[in-house]
Symmetry: C2
DNA sequence: ATCCATAAACGACATTCGTCGTCTATATGA
DNA sequence: TCATATAGACGACGAATGTCGTTTATGGAT
């Protein structure tokens, strides 16, 4: 009984997925991700274990959906949109990334040092950032000679943003997020402007 | 019987790990990563299953070590070193990334569409790139006011490089690697130069 | 050549995983 | 309201996982 398509209109599907994601989120407040079994999740969600596999291939897929969905929701709540060029929209994306990582922080040091957890989170968030940026580069699909197209730029920029923010987040004595946003923006703006930029970027020291 | 420290000098340890990595690599030429069980690996490696867990917490950790080690080996073979500034060393890193992703390509469409595989690979390679770049920024640990320090820049740059190359690799009708290297270099150079760069980067169109 | 530390082999264990078929409950449209 | 399609519950299954404790074999140092 695999779920037919991706018919999110059916309230039963939404309900079950919400329950599963909620259960995982709740369980992760006390345990590490890989100490949580699918049984634990379905038990806490009052959902049959077999039903879990109707929705997600494994708990990694659930985590992915949860993180990606959560970050996307945050962007939506803040009405963040990237208009293709650069100005404050990029800042909003960067700040959202900082905030999301911060809000995801677990209580004490029982934190995540597992094998697959962090990479999954990284991938989910990076993908979400990439979508926002890609959407910004919508119409201008110009594949001009030698110029990187929008997809490459969006990929480079989104990964750069996340990499920088992750590094910031992992550092001791974190600088305030607003300050970090400025630094990252400074780093990433030239990347986002590369569609029209000159090839040799001369920087004054 | 967990392995004492990380005493790679003991030939027994090196032998076992090499066997395990070789077995996984070999098995992945025919099966997808998540279709390979730990049993399969240890069987092919003629290593006891319990011994596997003396070396790696799970097969994800093995994959991580394999990919990270492989990429690091490639860089070492090519004597790639990043001297802190920018010139052709960055190109070498980018090209190596292109080549490594290409060489990792599996035969046919039985490819990797699993949940945790790609993120793990991404993380391992990104980390390896980050190490090279970080090493380049060794001595100059200047935390000047408002300026991003070397770690942030290295993180942003390494993630940007990998994100761009990954996008390139996933695209249909791939442009030649050399051409890609140029594009990525153009995108990333301003990031790498940010330590001394001015805050407002004006680009002529 | 001998001794000691330690890696690897081995068997066994409870637990979890992923999948299956069947039956019940619920949503949607006529 | 009723019919139908489909999601969820349930029980069961073989396989894989992760962890033991014990025994054997190997490497390095004296």
């Amino acid at each position: 009984m695999p779920i037919s398509d991706c018919d999110v209109r059916d309230p039963r599907i939404r309900r079950t997925r919400q329950l599963l994601q909620g259960a995982l989120k709740q369980l992760m407040e006390k345990k590490g991700f890989d100490e949580v079994s699918v049984q634990d999740i379905t038990e806490a969600a009052t959902v049959n274990r077999a039903t879990f596999y109707d929705h997600y291939t494994d708990k990694f897929a659930l985590l992915d959906a949860m993180v990606g969905g959560g970050f996307h929701k945050l962007l939506h709540e803040r009405a963040v949109r990237f208009d293709g060029s650069c100005p404050s929209a990029a800042s909003a994306v960067i700040l959202a990334t900082c905030d999301y990582l911060t809000q995801m922080e677990t209580g004490d040091g029982t934190c995540q040092r597992q094998s697959a957890f962090q990479p999954l989170v990284d991938a989910a968030i990076t993908r979400a950032i990439g979508r926002v940026l890609s959407d910004g580069f919508a119409g201008s699909e110009d594949g001009l000679k030698g110029k990187p197209d929008g997809k490459i730029i969006a990929a480079a920029a989104s990964w750069a943003i996340y990499g920088a923010v992750k590094e910031w987040f992992g550092s001791v004595n974190r600088v305030p997020a607003e300050e970090m946003v400025e630094m990252v923006l400074e780093l990433v703006l030239p990347v986002l402007s590369a569609r029209v930029g000159s090839s040799a970027v001369a920087l004054s020291s």
